[in-house]
Each structure stands twice: as C-alpha cells, then as structure tokens.
C-alpha cells in the first residue's frame, strides 16, 4: 500500500522519507511478529509434550502397573488359600483379607486408568474389557474358595474339583486380564517414546527459528534507528532504544525457556519415565512369578508348566545364562555381576544393590521351597510359601518400590520445572508484545507526524 502510494506520486527524494519509514517499520513489525510466532509455536509444542508425557502417559503407567500388581496378587492369594487347606487358620484369614484389599486396589486403579484413557478408543476398550473380566474372575474365584472350604483338605494340593474351578479362574486372570493390563502399560511407553522423539526434533528446531527471527527483528530495529538518526539528525530515539532492549530480552528469555523445556523433556523421559516403566514391568513380572509358586504347589498336573513360567519370568527380570531353574538359582546366588534382562541396567544405581540383594533372597527362598516340594513335604512347602518365601518377596517388592519412587520423583520434578518455566514465558509474552508495540509506535509516530 505504502509502496504503491510512493510510486504513484513519483516524488523527489525528500518526500519519500515517510514511505521509507513505513516500509522499514513494516518489515520490523513483521520480523517481530515472526519472533513471537516462533516463541508461541515452541511454547505450545513444548507444553503439549509435557502434558502428554507428564500428565497423561506417565500417571497412566503408574495406574496400570498398580492394576497389574493388584490383579496378579489377587490370584496369588486365592491360590494360597487353596493350598492352606484346613490348617493355618490365621494365615488363611490373612490371605483372604489381602485378597479383598487387592480387589479394592484393582477397582480403584481400573477407574483411574479409565479416567486417564481420555478419548483413546483402544485404551477405553481395554479398560472396559478388564472391568467385565474382573467380575467374571471374582465369581470363579468365589466358587473355587467355596468348594475348597467344603472339601476341608490337608495342606497341599486341594481335590481335583477345586483345582479345575481354580484353573478356569487363573486362566482368565493370567491369559486374558493380566496381558491387557500389561499391554496398556507398554502402550503408554509407546505414546511417550513417539511424543518425545517428535519433540526432540521440533523444539530445538523452533528454538533455532526463534534465534533467526529474533536477530532479524533486532537488525530491523537498528536499521530503523540508523535511518531515523540520519534523516532527522538525531542521536538515538529513547523509545526505539527501549524497544530494542525489550526485544533482546524477549529473545534471550525465549531461547532460554525453550532450552529448559527441551532439557526438562529429556530428563523426564530418559532419567524418569524410562526407568519408571522398566521397574513397573519388572514388578509386574515378579508379582506373577510369586503367584506361579503357589500355582506350582496347587496344580500337580501343570506343575511343570508353572515351574517353566517361573524360570521364564526370572530370566526376563534378571538374565543369567541358565538352561533350567536349578542352574539359575545357583547363578543368582553366585553374585554374577554382569546381568542382562529388565533389571540389568537399573542395578548400577545406588538403590540397585538393595534390589539385587532382596531378589537374591527371594530366589534363595524359592530354592528351599522347591526342595521341600521335591521331597514331597507338602505341609512344610505350604508353610515355606506363606512364611519365608512371601517375606522375601515382600522385601524385594519393597526395594523395587523404593527404586521406582526415586525415578518418579525425578520425573515429576522435571515435568514441574518445564511447566513452570513455560508459565513464566506465557505470562511475560503479552507484556513484551504490548510493550514493544507501544514503544515502536512512540518512536515512529512523531517522525511521521512531521510530514503532515
């Protein structure tokens, strides 16, 4: 518009001055707009990343891991009650109380998972199917418990009728419900990885765009000043000088905040989330491992299968070269330091030693437990399962929880830091835009007025 007017008038040099001022001011405003647009895009993108990782997927991993633990332990408690028989009244009541407690936990975790699934249809479907399945499981488990009570058997494997009913319940739990809970945990790992990989490219790139746009805006402001100074024989206009400083501050602050967010996302993912997910998976697998011990005791026909799944899960948690369970027991006891598997990389941390020690304790208790079973001492095996084995497992589980808690703290702190620095940027941005606009106006308008 201004260009066209200037050309139509085909004016002498002096009369083109207001045109030039308008053009240079226009370019300056455009480059400032570019700067703030880039800051806005970067801010929105970083906030989106922090929200997905920190407020959706992160808490969902914790909720679904809790769900897995509660479900898996419910099934283990039922198996415990069934092998106790008519002896050990106190332990039987304790196991039933723990079953009820886990059932409440499972229901709460399921509600939470459903709430967090938001509008993700696949996650919702899974949560609904879990809710249905849990009802069916409770019915089957109730039947098995009732049949067991009527049979009033010795400690050890219950009568066939009880085993058959329990098999239906445990198959539903282990083959249908637990995999869904576990896959839900993994799916959130996928969501986090994808979001992080995207943000790890986008945020630094926008940061570069902010720098380029910011330098451009600063150059334009300087150009405008130099032009005005030459034409109007004045040393710097204070308003434009202030606008330049404000732009510089906005640029530096913006680049710093985006850098902080980039780092916050990296920390949240690499130092927090990845380990939280790994420990959650290890804990899930370990819980079902200790259930396999009770099932091994309970169902003689499937004992080989349950012993094998116990080994398979042990190898997944902490891999040591071992072709069978007794070799594995030996290998764990001999403190082989170089371990692979889920927990392998986590053991180097300072709480890793406690996890390794308690895991060893659990495997040692398992060795003793299986020796009793092999010798046919059913009542002693039941006592071992409910005594030393359960205690060793609880100690190991507690060590895992401590480790997970530390990573969760790192995770939450990183997300909080990222969000609060973004909040500051968000609060300052309108003032920066308004202030710079006013200063520009104050710097340019009086000069233009001289030509009226």
């Amino acid at each position: 518009m201004t260009m066209v007017q200037a050309r139509v008038a085909s004016p002498p040099a002096r009369r083109s001055v207001p045109g030039s001022i308008r053009v240079i001011s226009g370019i300056t405003v455009a480059s400032l707009a570019l700067l703030f647009a880039a800051l806005a895009v970067g801010g929105v993108s970083a906030r989106d990343g922090l929200r997905v990782i920190g407020r959706d997927a992160g808490p969902q991993v914790v909720a679904t891991a809790g769900l897995y633990f509660a479900l898996s332990d419910m099934d283990a408690q039922v198996a415990d009650v069934l092998v106790l028989g008519r002896a050990y009244e106190q332990q039987r009541r304790a196991a039933l109380a723990r079953y009820d407690e886990r059932r409440l936990e499972a229901n709460r975790a399921l509600l939470k998972a459903f709430e967090l699934s938001g509008d993700n249809p696949a996650e919702r479907r899974t949560a609904e199917s879990l809710l249905d399945g849990l009802g069916r499981y409770e019915r089957l488990a109730g039947q098995a418990l009732l049949l067991n009570e009527r049979s009033s058997h010795e400690p050890g494997p219950p009568p066939d009728e009880v085993v058959r009913t329990y098999r239906q319940a445990t198959d539903l739990m282990r083959l249908v419900l637990l995999p869904q809970a576990y896959n839900l945990t993994l799916e959130n790992g996928t969501i986090v990885r994808r979001t992080y990989d995207e943000k790890a490219v986008v945020v630094p790139l926008v940061r570069v765009a902010v720098v380029v746009a910011g330098l451009l805006a600063l150059a334009c402001l300087v150009w405008l000043q130099v032009f005005l100074a030459r034409r109007f024989r004045r040393v710097f206009g204070p308003a434009l000088l202030a606008a330049t400083v404000a732009t510089l501050v906005a640029l530096v602050a913006g680049v710093a905040v985006l850098g902080q967010d980039q780092e916050a996302l990296r920390r949240a993912k690499k130092a927090g989330f990845d380990s939280v997910l790994t420990v959650a998976r290890a804990r899930a697998i370990s819980t079902s491992m200790q259930g396999d011990e009770s099932r091994y005791l309970l169902d003689k026909e499937r004992a080989d299968t349950y012993e094998h799944t116990f080994l398979d899960k042990s190898l997944a948690v902490l891999y040591l070269e071992a072709g069978n369970l007794s070799t594995y027991h030996k290998a764990v006891a001999e403190r082989s330091s170089k371990a692979l598997g889920l927990l392998g990389p986590e053991l180097a941390a300072r709480d890793g030693q406690a996890v390794l020690e308690t895991y060893r304790g659990f495997q040692a208790a398992d060795t003793e437990f299986r020796r009793l079973v092999a010798e046919g001492r059913n009542a002693d095996a039941v006592a071992a399962r409910l005594g030393p084995v359960r205690q060793a497992f609880d100690a190991y589980d507690q060590a895992l929880l401590v480790m997970s808690g530390r990573h969760e703290n790192v995770f939450e702190r990183a997300i909080d830091t990222g969000e609060s620095s973004l909040d500051n940027l968000w609060r300052l941005l309108p003032f920066a835009i308004g202030g710079i606009a006013l200063l520009m106006f104050a710097g340019v308008w009086p000069r233009l007025k001289e030509y009226r």
Binding site: A38, V41, A122, L175, R302, T305, G341
Partner: protein
Amino acid sequence: MRRALAVVLALTALAASACGVGGGETLLDKDTVVIGVRPDLPQVGFRTSRGTFEGFDVDVAAYVAKKLGKKAVYRAVLAADREKVLVDGQADMVLATYTISQDRKAKVLFAGPYHISYQDILTRPGEQIRNVRDLRGRTICNVKGSNAADRVVVERGIAARLAPFDDYAACLSALKGGKVDAVTTNDVILAGLAIRDGSGLRLANAQFNEQRTGVGLRKGDVAGCEAVNRAITDMYQDGTASRLLHKWFGSAGLDLSTIAVPQFEGCS
C-alpha cells in the same frame, strides 16, 4: 502472524522429515516388506506345490503387513536361518514359530507374541507317552535350529536321547519308521504335522512348556515393533485371531477355549 506461523511450521516440518523423526532404520519406511515364513510346517507356514505360502503364520503376516500399509513379499526361512535373515537384512520380519527367549533377544527384537502355544509331544498311535517325564530313555527328534528338544533335556532335566534332523519331514518319517519314539515342539506345529500326515499320529496334550511365539525384527527397530504390536492388538480385538486359529487348527483337537491378546514382550 498466520503467515509467519505457517513459515515456522513449514520449516519445522521440512527439517523433521529430513532428519527422520526418531532416527534409526525401521521397516515402517519401506513400501514392501520381506517376511520370512516357514516352508516346512503344514498349517503353520508351508510352501504349496504352486510355490506360494499358506498357514497360520502366513495369514498373521498378511494381516500385520496390511495394517502397516505395506506390500508383503514372502520368503522361505528354516528354523536355523531365522536369526541370520534378520541380521543380514534378507528379511524385515520373521513369522516362523519363532519362540521368544532372552538369549535370542541379544540378536533380534521381538514384537508380540502373537500366539501362546505349549510344547507338546507327538507319538505313534498306541504309544504310552503321556507327559514329558515319559520321555526318559526314549529317542526324540532334535530339529536343527529349534530349541524344543533342549528344553526337555536341559530345562526339564529328562534323560532322553536326541537324534538330529534337518527338518520336520525327515523327523516325521523317522517317527513312523520307528527310528525315533516322539517328536516334541510347539503344539501348533505338531497339530499341523498330524493333520497333514493323516495316519493317526497322536498328540499327548502334555502342554508342559509355555511357548511365546513372536515376530522377529531387526534389533533397534523400536518403531516397527510398536506398530506390529498395535496390529496384533487389533487382530485380537476385531476377531481375526480367533477366526485364523479355528481355520488352521480347529480340526486338530487343539485347545482353543481361551483366545486373548498375549502379554507383549515390550519393544525396548
């Protein structure tokens, strides 16, 4: 303002596509994926006389490839070569009754499992082998590249004699000729062999080891692995898995009472 935003976004998109978000080679970048399937297992992965492949694994592979929006090309892979074709890049995916194990995971990445089967025992009719412990002192096939026989001898600690064979066809004729007493491996493989053979070989239904059958992928292809897992979840949720299992194994007396999405191994 809007134009500036568009410019920034365009720049970002350009750079993002140039760097390839996430980095690392993935089968998701290909239009056609080469899938290794078994040529020697009836009902599971089998080369027909026309040179095409058919079976449960082949149908699962086709479903997954379709879900990923890829054209599928199949190539034959025997048990012993499953790791090699992935490591050498001759195949992008392997669906060949590939049981997930921690030592195999050192070389390849597993998506899935897409099916949980059990180790079982196939014998001549009239034979008195009911469970794994009855294999003590008997001769069993040890098919090259398969760890099934080892799982009896090493894992279960049962003193059976091993007779080496290149493939199941040779092993089966040795069973019928009385040179070996039993064949042990995944129940689906045994069911397929029994259906094809038709001479009344019988499954012991011993179900002594859980076998998690996964999709072999090149190590490091995390994005590909996650996409395959989503496809497998869909396959179970939309009923395809149940249809395929009944189609290929329904007549073999395999227990199909529980069909549910398996617990995944995880991609990292």
